[in-house]
């Protein structure tokens, strides 16, 4: 049972990770002048879009989302609407946080917002997929004994890694090396992506390693 779940999660993570690579490679084939630094926004939205699509598809196919009591269409639409709203709110939230951390307020607002979208894709979207639009549950997940399944644990790890990656990504900005990736927000998006990939990689390994220690209650 355990191994099956972990294996499933690992393969799901592999699919998500490969989607990031594909999102980097495919536009390079089809678009002229595509480069990660040069046309950064294209790359960013291609990654964000592909991660979003793959995440939603994988979790929908695997049926990870929490069971709902009502199954009516209106309830589903309401849920979908709330999910979209939460996603948008989380983008705004991240935007605010990033601005408070020192991003320019007006000059590169679009770039900053794109970073917020990317971060939301890496973190909030997965929360929405796994836990549904339920903020109480989100807060619960990010506590020590809050994880109720391996998916929750993987959510903890990937979210933490993405945010720490984005945080670390801000470090090279003040340095005077004049590299193209030091331009705001390239290093932060790259850091967030690298962190997310690390999280995807680390989560199954870590869970496998600690499977004796993890005791989940029944759902």
């Amino acid at each position: 049972m355990w191994d099956v779940e972990i294996r499933g999660m690992a393969s799901a993570h592999a699919i998500v990770a490969s989607s990031i690579f594909l999102a980097t490679v495919i536009p390079a084939v089809f678009l002229e002048n595509f480069s990660v630094y040069g046309s950064h926004m294209v790359w960013l939205y291609s990654v964000a879009g592909s991660v979003a699509v793959v995440n939603i598809a994988v979790f929908w196919l695997l049926g990870i989302s929490p069971p709902t009591k009502k199954n009516t269409l209106s309830f589903k639409i309401n849920r979908l609407f709330r999910s979209c709203l939460y996603f948008l709110l989380s983008c705004l939230f991240y935007h605010t946080v990033v601005v408070l951390y020192g991003a320019p307020l007006l000059e590169t607002a679009l770039d900053t917002f794109s970073l917020a979208v990317l971060l939301s894709t890496f973190t909030t979207l997965r929360c929405l997929c796994i836990l549904g639009p339920n903020i109480q549950a989100w807060i619960r997940v990010f506590s020590r004994d809050g994880a109720l399944s391996v998916w929750d644990t993987s959510l903890q790890i990937t979210t933490g890694c993405s945010l720490v990656g984005a945080w670390l990504g801000a470090f090279p900005i003040p340095l005077d090396w004049d590299r193209p990736w030091q331009v705001w927000p390239v290093s932060c998006t790259l850091g967030a992506t690298a962190g997310f990939l690390t999280g995807l990689l680390v989560a199954p390994v870590w869970i496998h390693w600690h499977r004796k220690l993890l005791t989940y209650k029944l759902k």
Binding site: Y101, G102, I139, R144, A170
Partner: protein, 1127 residues
């Protein structure tokens, strides 16, 4: 509370830190006193044969000179090797120098020109114009501008009426303001710009040379240097640049006249990567090319040619060739090949070699005498040797002159040797790092940080009597021993090594002692790997990179924000931020015991998040008060930094003024409000007087002062005298008032209102316990309304009963003390508030907003700390009142953050010198007062946060949630009481050790930053930016630490003063015969009361008083008065 055991370790640690800083700085920043005398033509150098003076005696050899300075013209660039068929980009690109040398050997000469470290352009310009060996700090230099005040060549040229025309690097203009006849400066800052300066010179140099409006032309080209910084020497751009220079030299030579000397020189070299600043030979070896259209040198081989010319030698040579006095503090030696040899007299004019040398020797000797009288840093034995040399030379020379014969060649050599040895002596004491001192300083500082850490972990042990006796005693002994050995072996005392010995031995002994004492399991390093210390580590690591130091204000804000966001995340991770779900079967029951009620959790969480919002908001807003370093390219200094009188737009000025005054008023209001909230304004002691009257008075005074200083000078002409008086006396009056407030606070720090309280439940259940002050929200009128019926009822009851229940044991009269719960923090906060106003007065008016943000931010950090302590108080079973690292690190980061947010920067030009003239617009006579005013201004945020440091200990108690702490206190029979800071009195031992721990941690956090910047300066001492970024940063960090540690002690002493006063109060309250005494509170949230259970005699007496209704009246009166006070 134990005072000495707390203070002694801290004083000891601080002095160890000071010794470390002193040693390192002594080895790193070499100090030279500037001799502020200038040479003149009329100077008579002793021993003089002539009466007329030495310098401007004979006809100068050259009337005019062209000095082409090619920045970073390395010696290698100028060598020409015709056999080199595949030259690198920097080789063989200046053939003109070699051509001229071989074509006209008596007209041109090329030398290697050796610079003294530090090889940075500004220091080098200073070097080859003053002829001295510059050090980092030339004492006597005015820090405000870079202008060279020492005697220099440019000044001397101007003195004798030579017209000096300058073009090129704009550094010169700031170094020699108003000294040039004409100057064409071009911006030098942008390293990427290779051509602006050079093209600017090229457009002007030829017309200038062809004109007749100059005597000395100085042109400073920057292209080669910038090319090196940008591309390195091994790059085609360098070839292009050097070829351009070749062309320039050729064209200049073509235009030279016979009476003109051409000097082409580099100020320093460069490394293979194109950088400079250090002391490697590649960086120090530049080129010097001398040319004249008339014969200048004797035939090659006819005399000894120096291989390497030290940079200082140019100054006396040029001075004597052009017929100007040698600058006073030059230690250079004339370049002999440029002067005709003895007796030859072939040159029509000018001095012979011996004459030139003799003047030079006398001038250097004069300088040496003056300098050794002023400063003692030249070793006395070498000084006496030099003196003997000089008297020997002078007697020989004078004898030779009297006898009418020429000085012998031996004498010339001995004069040269004398000059060389003077130079070497000066260099040894000025221009070299002292690696041993630096290493010792580093070691002592590192150990001192470790020491702080150990003290903070083992504070309960350190506080025991006699723990420190051995280390301190041994330190003294070792220091004495080192001093003795030095006196015995060397004959003189070097203080720094004695101190180093003392500090090191006491540190080592202490560490060894604690190693034996400490429990083994406590020393796992993983315990220190908390995110708070990680943030501190990042902060320290950031000091090692020049970019991070340049953007330090933003870096600190980033880290502080991270740390404060981490706190709620961590609490959530521990499951403490949200109330646990209602008990279900999920959790084992044992885990659920220690939880707070969910309403409390919710309230604390809300408070935490609100204060986090305040913190984040004030951090963000405070970013707009930053000043700009020159390295930050497109940065605008905050508009609030300029004094109001400089704001041109009157509407904007009014707006700024209103904003400043409003924030000042808010500052005072917030303090007042806090004190009132916790019932500290009820009594009538002097400290309350200072809170109620001095604070607003000072506030009004400051508003007036700002208004006066903001008025443009020409608006009220008829009132100008009055305004002048106001400029002087208003700030002084405010200083006096605030000083009086601080003094009063020191004299009587108690803010407790003592009131005798009658028995409450006189009839058991017949009367409800008075709850009229249950909430501070009730207006005093309502309270009064509520109070009077109760009083009436009570009087009625007591009249009915007479003195019957006087013998009852349960309810005896008590003494209520209002404001006892914040007895420690209230005076400390008031102290900070008064001090803050003093410091604000020293700042530009706009900084009032920044100070308000500082107050808000400090409050936010304190509240976040208090809430997180409350929320986690049950899960972490720590003993005592330990303050976690996260809060201490945030506190220290906030201090660093507001250093920047009050418009300060760790650079010397950004020091706000205006602070010295607040209240002293005419300037000062001494130096102590202005220096201390400037220090207070510069380190104001360090000072405020250091004084307020003990608040970190008190705040969780002030904001305590009832039931959290008393649940685990042993003797808490009445767990609903909010005892607040009185809890600290319950266990003086823990209180002392917690105070020691907190201070040690704060010192550690600050000391680690000093250590980091010391490491940066030591490791990167050859870095390009060392004199621009790291050395000033080190100075500011070290002085900030010293100021912080002094004021942290002051805060600590203030707490101890309050402790003494509280002890006295308790003694006074306890009548001799009463024995039972306990702290008590009547279920009131914020007002602690002491209930004094008295003996029947006392009780009966008080009862009698009540009956005579005098007390009732008194109470009513007090109540009404406190009502006025409180709302």
């Amino acid at each position: 509370m134990r005072r000495l055991p707390v203070l002694l370790p801290l004083i000891w640690v601080c002095s160890v830190f000071y010794v470390g800083i002193f040693l390192f700085v002594g080895g790193f920043l070499l100090v030279r006193l500037e001799v502020n005398r200038t040479s003149t033509c009329a100077d008579i150098l002793s021993p003089g044969a002539q009466v007329k003076g030495d310098f401007c005696l004979s006809e100068p050899r050259f009337r005019r000179a062209v000095v082409l300075i090619i920045d970073a013209l390395k010696a290698d660039f100028t060598r020409y090797d015709p056999e080199n068929t595949a030259p690198k980009p920097f080789e063989n690109k200046l053939p003109v120098l070699d051509e001229m040398g071989s074509l006209h050997p008596s007209h041109a000469r090329l030398y290697t020109f050796r610079a003294d470290p530090p090889t940075t352009t500004m220091q080098r310009i200073k070097g080859f114009t003053t002829g001295s060996l510059p050090t980092f700090i030339d004492v006597g230099n005015n820090f405000a501008s870079n202008a060279i005040l020492e005697d220099n060549l440019v000044h001397q040229l101007g003195q004798v009426g030579k017209r000096v025309v300058f073009m090129g690097d704009d550094t010169w203009v700031s170094l020699f303001p108003k000294k040039f006849h004409r100057s064409l400066p071009f911006p030098s800052f942008n390293v990427k710009d290779l051509h602006t300066v050079d093209n600017g010179i090229l457009q002007n140099i030829y017309p200038t040379m062809e004109g007749d409006d100059w005597d000395v032309l100085i042109a400073h080209f920057l292209g080669v240097d910038h090319c090196g910084h940008r591309f390195g020497p091994d790059h085609p751009a360098m070839a292009e640049k050097l070829s351009q220079m070749d062309g320039v030299i050729r064209s200049v030579i073509k235009r030279l006249k016979n009476d003109t000397l051409l000097v082409v020189m580099g100020d320093h070299g460069m490394t293979d990567t194109g950088d400079h600043g250090g002391e490697s030979q590649k960086e120090t070896d530049a080129a010097l090319f001398l040319y004249s259209s008339s014969p200048l040198f004797s035939a090659p081989g006819s005399q000894m040619e120096p291989e390497v010319v030290p940079q200082t030698d140019l100054v006396p040579t040029l001075a004597l060739l052009l017929g100007v006095p040698i600058p006073y503090s030059s230690v250079g030696q004339v370049l002999l090949p440029l002067f005709p040899q003895n007796g030859s007299r072939s040159a029509p004019t000018g001095l012979s070699q011996a004459e030139a040398l003799w003047i030079n020797v006398k001038q250097v000797n004069r300088f040496l005498e003056t300098y050794s009288n002023m400063a003692k840093d030249i070793p006395p034995d070498s000084l006496s040797l030099l003196r003997a040399d000089f008297s020997n030379i002078s007697s020989q020379y004078l004898v030779a002159v009297q006898e009418g014969r020429l000085p012998s060649p031996d004498l010339v050599v001995s004069m040269q040797n004398y000059l060389t040895s003077v130079r070497e002596t000066c260099r040894a004491s000025w221009a070299r790092f002292n690696p041993f001192k630096m290493a010792a300083g580093l070691l002592i500082l590192g150990l001192a940080c470790l020491l702080c850490c150990v003290i903070s972990e083992l504070s309960h042990l350190v506080i025991q009597e006699g723990f420190l006796k051995l280390p301190i005693f041994s330190g003294l002994v070792v220091g004495m021993a080192v001093a003795g050995v030095q006196l015995f072996s060397q004959g003189y005392l070097e203080l720094s090594w004695c101190l180093a010995g003392a500090a090191l031995s006491s540190e080592v002994l202490f560490l060894w002692k604690t190693r034996r004492v400490s429990p083994k399991d406590r020393w796992c390093p993983a315990r220190l790997l908390t995110p708070a210390l990680l943030v501190l580590f990042l902060r320290c690591a950031s000091l090692l990179s020049d970019s991070y130091v340049i953007y330090e204000g933003h870096v600190v804000t980033f880290l502080l924000l991270t740390l404060s966001v981490y706190i709620p995340l961590r609490l959530n991770w521990d499951g403490l931020l949200v109330p646990l779900p209602p008990p279900d079967t999920q959790k084992p029951p044992m885990q659920r015991q220690a939880t707070l009620p969910s309403s409390v959790v919710r309230r604390e969480t809300t408070v935490l998040l609100v204060w986090l919002g305040v913190l984040v908001g004030s951090l963000y807003v405070s970013l707009s008060f930053h000043n700009c370093r020159e390295e930050q390219g497109s940065c605008q200094p905050s508009p609030f930094l300029s004094p109001l009188s400089r704001v041109q737009d009157s509407q904007l000025r009014n707006l700024h003024y209103v904003l400043s005054v409003a924030s000042l008023a808010t500052w005072v209001y917030l303090l007042h409000r806090w004190l009132r909230h916790y019932g500290n304004l009820n009594c009538s002691t002097v400290s309350v007087f200072s809170a109620c009257f001095i604070l607003p008075l000072a506030c009004v005074g400051m508003g007036l002062h700002w208004a006066v200083s903001a008025t443009p000078e020409d608006t009220f002409r008829n009132l100008s005298e009055l305004i002048g008086l106001a400029h002087v006396f208003l700030p002084r009056a405010i200083f006096c008032v605030l000083g009086l407030g601080l003094l009063l606070l020191w004299v009587d720090p108690m803010t407790v209102f003592i009131k005798s309280r009658t028995p409450v439940n006189s009839r058991g259940t017949s009367l409800p316990r008075p709850r009229y002050r249950a909430s501070t929200g009730i207006s005093p009128q309502a309270e009064l309304h509520h109070l009077i019926p109760q009083l009436y009822q009570r009087i009625r009851h007591s009249l009915e009963d007479g003195g019957v229940e006087a013998g009852e044991v349960d309810d005896r009269p008590a003494v209520e003390a209002y404001g006892l719960g914040t007895v420690f923090s209230a005076p400390l906060l008031l102290f900070c508030g008064l001090l803050g106003l003093v410091l604000l007065l020293l700042h530009p008016e706009g900084m009032a907003l920044a100070f308000l943000l500082l107050l808000l931010e400090a409050g936010a950090v304190l509240h976040i700390h208090a809430c997180s302590t409350n929320l986690s108080s049950l899960s972490i079973h720590s003993s005592g009142y330990s303050v976690p690292w996260a809060s201490v690190v945030s506190w220290s980061l906030a201090a660093a953050q507001f250093f920047h947010a009050t418009g300060h920067l760790p650079t010397f030009p950004s020091i706000q010198w205006g602070a010295a003239f607040v209240g002293f617009p005419q300037g000062h006579t001494g130096t102590v007062l202005p220096a201390s005013l400037v220090i207070l201004n510069t380190f104001s945020s360090h000072i405020l946060f250091a004084v307020g440091c003990p608040l970190l200990l008190f705040w969780p108690l002030v904001c305590e949630v009832r039931g959290t702490r008393s649940a685990r206190s042993v003797g808490g029979e009445e767990s609903e009481d909010a005892v607040m800071e009185m809890r600290l009195r319950e266990s003086p031992q823990k209180f002392s050790s917690a105070l020691l721990q907190l201070t040690a941690r704060y010192l550690f956090v600050n000391g680690a930053q000093v250590l980091a910047s010391v490491c940066a300066a030591a490791i990167l001492r050859r870095h390009l930016m060392v004199w621009k970024v790291f050395a000033p940063k080190l100075m500011f960090e070290a002085s900030g630490f010293i100021v912080s540690s002094v004021f942290v002690m002051l805060g600590l002493i203030m707490v101890m003063r309050v402790d003494i006063a509280v002890g006295r109060l308790f003694k006074k309250l306890l009548p001799q015969n009463s024995r039972l005494f306990k702290l008590r509170n009547r279920n009131k949230p914020h007002i602690s009361a002491i209930r004094l259970q008295a003996t029947p005699q006392v009780l009966a007496e008080m009862w009698q008083q009540l009956l005579s209704s005098r007390l009732v009246l008194m109470r009513l009166w007090h109540r009404a008065k406190s009502g006025v006070d409180t709302v």
